[in-house]
Symmetry: C2
DNA sequence: TAGTTATATTGCAATATTACAATAAACTTT
DNA sequence: AAAGTTTATTGTAATATTGCAATATAACTA
């Protein structure tokens, strides 16, 4: 055993889990925040910015890309990464709905 | 190596990563959604609901509790679990702010 | 073309996560 | 008290993640 039993859950549940998991690491939070800060999308000065080795950051970028939270365009010999709005939007909406439903129910428990 | 280098990141980044990581598993998404659905907070009929063994679910509940996404009250020999609004609220706000900043910047890249 | 720059891949070690059977702990009911 | 119910813990196996050095790949520059 040891592998997540994705088959048993809905596509929506798996999608949200994948997105959340992708942000579930401080380095990846830092990458997203850096991309947001520099606005104009920057390649890997991120390596300069974070206390991690280049291969490690490359790996984190790959995970964020796979999850649909960032996208990358080749630009000369560099790669221009930036935030993929759709992914952030999904997370925003999910938690907004969740919080909203909770508020309506007035959390009448415990 | 292999352990996350939490020390190098801000408390906010680590907090968000912890919260996100906690939802980063479909079973835990399913648990949150079940707790939301039944409203009145239910103990572990969750075991009946999910295709996972009782110890596995107990473990997932523990992680959600540690992350601050659910809370549990002892009620006789059972435990009444329910959603911890504060945790959901943090996630909601974070992603709302993120999406908002993105919208303002018009995502002018790539 | 040789050198430089930017990024990805590979291989590996350390650690964490996921899942479950078996068992324990704590309370309820009979 | 004995039996049942509910949840947590322990131990263990399988798998995944994190991180990096070394190396590869690709494009640009001189």
């Amino acid at each position: 055993m040891g592998a997540t039993k994705t088959i048993h859950f809905t596509a929506e549940q798996n999608t949200l889990a994948t997105l959340s998991k992708a942000i579930g690491h401080p380095a990846r939070v830092a990458i997203i925040e850096y991309l947001l800060k520099v606005n104009t999308c920057i390649c890997s000065d991120i390596v300069e910015e974070l206390p991690l080795a280049q291969p490690t950051i490359s790996q984190h970028l790959k995970e964020l890309k796979n999850a649909g939270l960032i996208k990358g365009n080749v630009e000369g010999n560099a790669i221009c990464y930036c935030i993929e709005e759709a992914g952030i939007e999904k997370l925003k909406n999910y938690f907004a709905d969740l919080a909203n439903t909770l508020a309506i129910q007035k959390n009448q428990c415990c």
